[in-house]
């Protein structure tokens, strides 16, 4: 078999995982990618959730198509500067509402193509958004990334017990497969009523932090339920740029500064990032 070099010009690779569905993996992936882009890095965002590709919608790229060049498939860029390139099965469907009803082997082949046949060019960061679980997609991506230095996985959870239970399994998956865990991020922590400003913990509190403690991995922080973030992802808007002072945006900026940008590469880390 030809020894194809996978991702030869990508400096850092991060996976966003969760055992549980619906905790906000795609939201977190896109916001981290946007934050890195705003910091001036060249970023790639790969969506390997083949059955439920959410990334195109979240970045306003729903009607985009993938083009081919001599070196392979060209990712869909969010702007002419080509600082954020995206690849998702969503771009390959004839009709965006078509379901992708594939068994494992077909999914495995697609993921391999995403990693070998896409012309990512030089990237500072590649963020990989995964589907929930620990199945074909996860096994394939890790197999294909064996020759690539993967910085690690960010595990996303909501605070409630059923979510934490699934993420605990995902944590064990990472340890078993030797994947470095960057930390656990707790999403949908608290909702501030727009009427009375009372903060209620709709999905309970503290589950992610306890799991991080128990699993001896860093706790990356809490992201509250922010309707502005929900709306931005629905409409494909850049939340980080539009609402950079919000609690949610600041949480993403902190995670990027503290856990994703290596200290020697950080430029003006002491100053708040001005986007």
């Amino acid at each position: 078999m030809a020894n194809v070099q996978i991702l030869p010009n990508v400096k850092h690779v991060f996976l966003v995982l969760s055992g549980k569905g619906g905790v906000g993996k795609s939201t977190v992936s896109t916001q981290l990618a946007l934050t890195l882009q705003n910091c001036g890095f060249k970023v790639g965002l790969l969506d390997i959730d083949l059955c439920g590709p959410s990334i195109p919608r979240m970045l306003g790229l729903e009607n985009s198509a993938v083009h081919q060049c001599a070196q392979g498939w060209v990712p869909v860029y969010t702007s002419p500067e080509q600082t954020l390139g995206v690849m998702s099965v969503g771009f390959l469907l004839e009709n965006k509402d078509d379901p992708v009803v594939w068994r494992g082997p077909k999914k495995t082949a697609m993921i391999k193509q995403f990693l070998t046949d896409v012309y990512w060019q030089d990237l500072d960061y590649l963020i990989i958004d995964t589907p929930p679980g620990t199945s074909d997609e996860h096994i394939s991506v890790l197999e294909n990334l064996k020759t690539v230095k993967c910085d690690g996985a960010i595990l996303v959870t909501t605070p409630q017990a059923v979510a934490v239970g699934d993420v605990r399994r995902e944590l064990t998956f990472c340890k078993k497969t030797g994947l470095n865990v960057i930390g656990i991020l707790e999403n949908m922590c608290g909702y501030v009523c727009p009427h009375c400003s009372e903060c209620t913990n709709i999905f309970s509190y503290g589950g992610g932090e306890s799991l991080a403690e128990m699993g001896k991995v860093p706790f990356l922080g809490r992201i509250p339920i922010d309707p502005k973030l929900t709306k931005a992802t629905e409409n494909g808007e850049n939340f980080i740029t539009a609402f950079q002072d919000s609690v949610a945006a600041q949480a993403f900026i902190t995670i990027v500064k503290k856990y994703m940008i290596p200290q020697e590469e950080s430029m003006d880390v002491s100053e708040p990032i001005d986007v």
Binding site: C51, P131, T134, I139, V162, F173, K176, C193
Partner: protein, 309 residues
């Protein structure tokens, strides 16, 4: 040129007469023939022994509340029809939530016939991957093993007798969905969604998938529809407002019920004491699930009464 006689006794002219038509003179209606040939290779649907009706609770999207709805629906059905047997199968191999929600744990026993005995709580027979693996152990399986596990959970569990088997599906449209759709006859599927567009995109795919494999979608559940602040009572639509209604019109499937986002539902589920049984029957949340159960039953009997499609 004389017509050659083929080995199997068909002449070229008779072959053309059999398969050619005015609009397709060369008889090359390959697509139809291919479809017929491919159908021969598909598994035949075989009902689960002793189980009368199978209802799927599904969604293309994760985290919309499938397990919560499945658990409360099963309990609501059981309450509505106390003389009938209801079972609950957790088909989410990778993220089994049913053990937590039904407050069940432990290794199931085997019967004399070597069938796995489902664990029972609140009068519901339950089976989940969560009973067969350790709490922290991830199930790192490729699709083929998932298919095999689903087959075992369907056929090698002592379900009989059951009037209704609710299957809590995992998110997505992959191996599990196909395995179940192709192997057992399903009375109907409910699609759970939240109002936000990102969830609806996947719910739509889930519904289309069921239509593709010939499973009737009996209705939508609009979950986490609105949120009432416990402090001031202000209603907000955290995850959007009109999404489910829009989807309903698009795919021609009714919204059966709107279930609000309420901390008590989540707390009850997390605590293993689901709201349908932990709260009083005049609680609007309980009434919502009871209404869902009634509507599902009436839709299912309407489908049965329909002349065969």
């Amino acid at each position: 040129m004389a017509l050659r006689r083929f080995n199997f006794g068909v002449t070229l002219s008779s072959w053309k007469m059999k398969y050619s038509t005015h609009s397709d003179p060369l008889g090359t209606n390959l697509k139809e023939r291919q479809a017929q040939m491919m159908k021969k290779g598909l598994p035949v649907k075989k009902p689960i022994e002793g189980v009368k009706n199978v209802i799927l609770v599904a969604s293309g999207k994760g985290g919309v509340g499938k397990s919560t709805v499945a658990v409360n629906l099963a309990l609501a059905l059981s309450r509505h029809l106390p003389s009938q047997d209801v079972g609950l199968l957790d088909a989410d191999i990778f993220g089994p939530s049913i053990p937590t929600m039904m407050n069940l744990s432990g290794n199931p026993l085997l019967t004399d016939k070597n069938l796995i005995k489902p664990l029972v709580n609140y009068n519901i027979k339950c089976m989940s991957m969560g009973f067969l693996v350790d709490n922290n152990a991830p199930v790192i399986w490729r699709g083929l093993m998932v298919m095999s596990a689903i087959e075992k959970l369907l056929r090698q569990v002592d379900w009989s007798p059951l009037d209704y088997l609710i299957i809590d599906m995992p998110p997505g449209t992959g191996d599990t969905q196909l395995s179940i759709a192709q192997n057992i006859p399903v009375a109907g599927a409910i699609i759970v969604t939240t109002p936000q567009e990102i969830a609806l995109i996947d719910a739509r795919k889930g519904a289309l998938m069921f239509q593709k494999v010939g499973i009737p979608v009996v209705g939508l559940v609009n979950n986490m529809a609105s949120y009432a602040c416990p402090n001031c009572g202000h209603h907000s639509h955290i995850f959007g407002a009109t999404g489910a209604e829009k989807l309903s019109k698009e795919i021609g499937v009714d919204v059966l019920v709107d279930i609000p986002l309420d901390t008590s539902i989540m707390e009850a589920a997390d605590g293993g004491y689901p709201i349908v049984i932990s709260s009083t029957s005049n609680n609007p949340l309980v009434q919502a699930y009871m209404s869902l159960a009634e509507k599902v039953l009436s839709r299912l009997s309407a489908i049965k009464d329909e002349p065969s499609r």
